[in-house]
């Protein structure tokens, strides 16, 4: 988790020009950090590349739009990192 978060925070800081110290595991990418969905696309692509995974953005977007889950599940960074770790583990399995 911690190294995943460090990588993700670095990607967000660099991609969105946000000071690294403002990014915490509790940060909500949209509500707290002000990342819009277009910029988040770059973040997502960079995460995919860094971790060798493909985040199912379409499925996640659908779940949020359908009201099945809160956007916190995918946009609060500690939750996002949990999802990334799960995808990395699933790929290795």
């Amino acid at each position: 988790m911690s190294s995943t978060f460090e990588t993700v925070a670095g990607i967000i800081s660099e991609t969105c020009d946000i000071p690294r110290e403002k990014i915490t595991p509790e940060s909500h990418a949209i509500n707290d950090l002000g990342i819009d969905s277009l910029d988040f696309l770059d973040v997502a692509f960079a995460i995919d590349k860094a971790f060798g995974i493909k985040m199912p953005l379409e499925q996640w977007t659908q779940e949020v739009n359908d009201g099945k889950v809160s956007s916190d599940r995918y946009f609060v960074l500690k939750d996002l990192c949990d999802n990334i770790d799960a995808l990395v583990a699933a790929k290795a399995a």
Partner: protein
């Protein structure tokens, strides 16, 4: 091409949504008021219209992939490169490959060739949203028929 009407694609020559690829012919007109200003004594296609041509070519690929259920609007252009001058009368071949869809966005890699050489390339991103009205959807379907999008792509698979 009818530059003044932003009709950049003349004819779809290849459309394969399984391979996520499209190709199209785009004939630059011999004359246009655009060339009077861009540039006097040295008429060339404006780079922004080359980008628009790639955006429209990729847009038809997105529309066909989605079976015209939603409309892609230009949201971002990355790494656009104009590699050669394109003069009036040039026969262009535009092509695009779909790199990403879903998530409310689509991403294509676009390219335009002239005389067998790359004239322009860019990564183009679209915000994909429901058609704002039936008028636009109807016009897009009419244009799709005119430029040769097969009827099979007009309806849900």
């Amino acid at each position: 091409m009818r530059l003044e009407y932003f009709q950049m694609v003349d004819r779809i020559t290849r459309l394969d949504t399984d391979a996520r690829q499209i190709a199209a012919d785009c004939q630059v007109p011999d004359e246009s008021p655009i060339f009077e200003g861009h540039f006097p004594g040295h008429p060339i296609m404006p780079g922004v219209l080359m980008i628009e041509t790639m955006a429209q070519t990729g847009g038809w690929l997105v529309l066909a992939t989605l079976r015209f259920a939603s409309m892609p609007f230009l949201a971002q252009v990355k790494e656009a490169k104009m590699r050669a001058f394109v003069a009036p009368g040039a026969a262009l071949q535009a092509e695009a490959e779909l790199l990403h869809d879903g998530s409310g966005y689509a991403v294509v890699k676009g390219r335009i060739a002239s005389g067998g050489k790359t004239a322009a390339e860019a990564e183009v991103r679209y915000r994909v949203v429901p058609f704002p009205n039936e008028t636009l959807r109807g016009q897009m379907l009419d244009t799709a028929r005119r430029i040769g999008v097969p009827e099979a792509f007009f309806h849900a698979a």
